[in-house]
Symmetry: C2
Subunit: 472 residues, 2 copies
C-alpha cells in the first residue's frame, strides 16, 4: 500500500487536470507556498475520506496504530484541541461529572462547556524550587474517584516534561470501569525508543491524544487520537471527530502526519538517539555553569524539554528568553517566572545545539555582574475556588464588568489566568474570594501577564476589573 504523500506526489506529476477544489488548482507558478499547494487536494477518487476512511487514509491510521500499539488510531487535522473535545465528548454525556486536573489544557474546559459537565478538580501544585507545575499523582486519583465520575482526564507529560504514573492511574480507573483519557499532546515521541519514557498507550490509557507537531517532525495542527479497550464507544469517537473537524480536511496536513509516522517507523530509534545525544551534550557542556542551570533528569522526565533557570535570583526566565532571542538569535518556546523553555527534537541541527550551549555558558559567565533584578513574587495561587455555577452556566449568563476593588464575593463570568502557565485561577461560575483577589492584585503589581483582566478608563484614570456574572 503506497503512502499518502507518494500518491499525492504521483498525482502532482501526472497529467490529471483538477476541475475540483481547492480553487488554486495546484497552480504553482502563482504561489510561493509551492510545496504545500502541490499536494493540496480534496476528496477525489482514490484519496479516501478522513471522516469515513476505508482506503489510503485508513491504511495510514493502521500504521500509526501499529507504531504506538493502540487498538485504533485516528488522524486529527484540528490539533490536539479537536482530539480533547472528541475524547471528552465520547465518554461523557450532557451534565456528567468528570475528574480532571486543574492544569488541563483549555480544550478540556471548552469540552466541559459544550457538554455542561461538572468538573471535579484534582489538587495541583508547583514544584517549589523552580515553580514547575507537577503531574497528577495516583494517590490523588484514588482519593477523588467515586461513583459520580464518568471519566478521568489527566495531562502527561506536562508542557514542562513531567510525567504521571499513567499505569497506576489507569489501573485505579479500570477497577471502577471508568475510562482514562491522557492528554499526551507533548508525548508523541514517548515509547519510540527505550531512551525515552513509556507511552501512555502502552501504559493502559483508554484514549490518548498526541500532538505530532510538538515533539515529532510534523506540521502544526496535526495530531493523533488513539483508542484502546472496551470502555470507549468507537462510534462516538468517530462521530465526535467528524463534528469538531473540517469536512474539508487538508491533505497537506494529512500527508505530513503520514510522512511523520513513516519516518518514525523507519527511523524512530535514530530520531530519539539524536534527541538524547543533543540533550546529553547540553547537560554535559553546561554542567560547570554556576549561575544558570539546565534542569536535568531529576526534575524533568522528557529530554525534549530544556528548562534553563537562573540559580542566583538575579535573572528571570523572561530575561533568559529575551537575551537568547535578542543577542543570540535563538527563539525559545516559552518563558515562565523562573525558567525559559527550549524544545529540542531529533531533527535539530548540531550547530543550533552548539549555539544554545555557547549562549548558556556566556550568560552564566556574566550573570553575577548582571543588572537584572529579580522581583519579589506573590505566591502562586493553588486554590480551587468555590463553584457557584457550572462552566456552561457561568460562561453563558449575562455579564457585567466589576472593578477589582469590588470583586470579592462576585462570580466570574470568564477565565482568569496567568500565562504561563495558563492554569485557570478562576473559571466561569467560580467565586472571587478575598485570598484570590489579593493574589490577583499582587500579579498586577508585578506586571505579570494576567489574562482575563479588563482595563477601564474612568475620567482619565485607568482602573482594572473583571467580567462577572450579572447580579440580579
Amino acid at each position: 500500500m503506497p503512502d499518502l504523500y507518494q500518491e499525492l506526489d504521483r498525482l502532482a506529476d501526472s497529467d490529471m487536470y483538477p476541475f475540483h477544489m481547492p480553487g488554486h488548482k495546484r497552480n504553482l507558478e502563482s504561489t510561493p507556498l509551492k510545496g504545500a499547494f502541490r499536494c493540496d487536494i480534496t476528496e477525489i477518487d482514490d484519496f479516501d475520506n478522513l471522516h469515513a476512511a476505508n482506503g489510503i487514509i485508513l491504511e495510514g491510521q493502521k500504521r500509526a496504530a501499529k507504531l504506538y500499539g493502540s487498538d485504533e488510531t485516528f488522524y486529527v487535522v484540528n490539533g490536539s484541541t479537536a482530539g480533547v473535545l472528541s475524547a471528552v465528548s465520547s465518554v461523557a454525556s450532557y451534565g456528567d461529572t468528570i475528574l480532571a486536573s486543574r492544569g488541563s489544557h483549555r480544550s478540556l474546559y471548552n469540552a466541559a462547556y459544550l457538554k455542561n459537565l461538572n468538573i471535579k478538580y484534582l489538587p495541583y501544585s508547583f514544584e517549589t524550587e523552580y515553580e514547575i507545575p507537577t503531574a497528577t499523582r495516583p494517590e490523588d486519583i484514588k482519593e477523588a474517584l467515586d461513583d459520580s465520575i464518568s471519566a478521568v482526564f489527566i495531562t502527561s507529560p506536562t508542557y514542562e516534561g513531567k510525567c504521571a504514573d499513567v499505569r497506576a492511574i489507569a489501573e485505579l480507573c479500570h477497577q471502577k470501569k471508568i475510562p482514562l483519557i491522557v492528554d499526551a499532546a507533548h508525548g508523541a515521541h514517548f515509547g519510540l525508543s527505550k531512551l525515552v519514557p513509556e507511552n501512555a498507550v502502552a501504559q493502559g490509557a483508554d484514549i490518548v491524544i498526541h500532538s505530532l507537531h510538538k515533539t515529532l517532525p510534523s506540521m502544526t495542527q496535526t495530531a493523533l487520537l488513539h483508542v484502546n479497550g472496551e470502555l470507549v464507544d468507537r462510534n462516538r469517537v468517530k462521530r465526535s471527530l467528524s463534528i469538531y473537524q473540517s469536512s474539508s480536511p487538508s491533505y497537506v496536513l494529512m500527508s505530513s502526519i503520514d510522512l511523520c509516522i513513516k519516518e518514525m517507523e523507519e527511523k524512530g530509534d535514530e530520531f530519539i538517539e539524536r534527541l538524547v545525544y543533543f540533550r546529553n551534550k547540553i547537560q554535559e557542556e553546561t554542567k560547570y555553569c554556576q549561575n544558570v542551570k539546565v534542569l536535568g533528569k531529576e526534575y524533568i522526565d522528557d529530554p525534549s524539554k530544556v528548562l534553563i533557570c537562573s540559580d542566583v535570583c538575579t535573572m528571570t526566565g523572561q530575561n533568559i528568553y529575551d537575551i537568547l532571542r535578542e543577542e543570540y538569535a535563538l527563539q525559545l518556546e516559552m518563558a515562565a517566572e523562573k525558567y525559559a523553555l527550549a524544545i529540542i527534537t531529533g531533527w535539530d541541527r548540531e550547530d543550533g545545539i552548539d549555539r544554545l550551549i555557547k549562549a548558556i555558558c556566556e550568560i552564566d559567565a556574566r550573570v553575577s555582574s548582571s543588572f537584572y533584578k529579580k522581583s519579589d513574587r506573590a505566591n502562586r495561587c493553588c486554590i480551587i475556588p468555590e463553584k457557584v455555577y457550572s462552566i456552561a452556566q457561568g460562561w453563558d449568563m449575562e455579564k457585567e464588568l466589576v472593578l477589582i476593588e469590588e470583586v470579592v464575593g462576585r462570580v466570574s463570568g470568564e477565565f482568569v489566568n496567568l500565562y504561563p502557565p495558563g492554569i485557570p485561577i478562576l473559571a466561569p461560575g467560580e467565586r472571587f474570594s478575598e485570598e484570590i483577589v489579593e493574589n490577583l492584585k499582587g500579579y498586577l503589581q508585578e506586571g505579570l501577564n494576567l489574562q482575563g483582566v479588563q482595563k477601564i478608563e474612568k475620567q482619565g484614570i485607568i482602573k482594572r476589573g473583571f467580567i462577572c456574572v450579572k447580579q440580579k
Copy 2:
C-alpha cells in the same frame, strides 16, 4: 504593515534558530513538503496569536474585512465547518429554535446537536429537469419566521451555484431583529467584480462564512467568518472560534489565507475576468452540442460551477464523470444523478479548459451510439419527516439495528442521506414513515450511494437495516 507570508519568508531566511514547536524545526533537507515546512511555525514573538489577534494576524483580518466590506472578519483554519459551528453557537443558546434549510451542510446539524437546538426546517425542492437542489426563497422565510426563532440559517450560493435573494431575506429577518447566518462557503469570489453576483456580506447578512479554498486560490481547510451589525455578540463569536479551532493554528494555512486576500485585493478583478472568460469559452464552444449540455446562466448563477448534463437520458452524471476521468484525465468535483460538476476558477489554465471543451464535444458526438443505460429512478424524497426527538436526544439515545422490513414507524438514531446531495432524508430523532421507507428501498435497488444504511449478514444472507432509537 508587512504580510504574514513576507514575515514568515524573512524569518525562514534569517539566522533565527527555532527552539520551539513544531518539532520538524523547519529542517527542509529531511522533508519533501519543503514549501510548507519552511513557513510552519508556532506563536513566537512578532507573529501574533489567532485566538487573541492584535498584530500581524489582526492586520490581515482587517484587510479581509475591507475587501468584503464587513465590520469584522476572522481567519478560520478548521474550514467552514468551524465557521458554521461558531456562527450558530454565537446566536443560539441551548435549547433554542432556529430556522434552517433542510439542505444545510452537516455542520449545521452538528451545531444543533451540540446546542440541543430545535430546527424548524424550510421547505426544499429540486429543480425538476436536472434535479438541482433549489435555493431558499424569501416567501418561505416570510411564512416560517415567528417569535420562536433565534436565528435563520441559509446556504447561498449552493454547491451547484444557485443563489438565494439574500437581501430580501435579510430584510425579513431584521424586521424581527433576528440574525441571519449565510453559509456562503461556495461564494467567497462573489462581489469581487461586477461580473459575478453580489456578496452576502454586502447584501446584509449578519454572519457570513466563506470557504477560501473552494473558489479562490487558498489551501484546503481555510475560511473566513464575517460579522456585521449589532445583532451578533462579537465576544461570543470570538469565544466560539477559539473553542472549535486548534490552539496551535497552522501558520501555513494562515499565510495561505493572507496571500489569497492580498491576491484578491490586487488582482481580484483580473481573477474574476479570467474565470468568466473561461466560463464563456466553455459555453460558446459547447453550444452546438446536441446531447451533452453545459447548463448556462438560466440555471446556474455562479460561473465557477460547470454542470455537465446529458439531455438524451442515455447517460448519467456518473457516466460523464467517469469518462472524463478515465479517458481524458479530467478530475471533476462531483457526480449527481443527472449531472457532473466541474469547478473552475481564475487560476485554471487555458489548456485545462480546452481539454474539457474538447472532451465534452467528443462525448456529445458519440453519445447517441452510447451503450450506457439510464435507470428509472425513484422520485427524490422531499419529505420533512415527523420529529419525535431533537437531534441531540435522538443521536445520544441507546440504539439498535432494525431491518428495513421492520423499520416503518421506528425513530432514526443516525443520519440517512443520499450522497450527493447529502441532504438528510432522516436526521436522528425523526420517524421512518411508510413513504420514506418505500423511497429508501428504491434507492437501494438502484444501487445509489445511500449513507446511513447498514449491512447485516444473517446465515449467509445479506440484509439491510438502519440504526434506530432503542424501543423500551
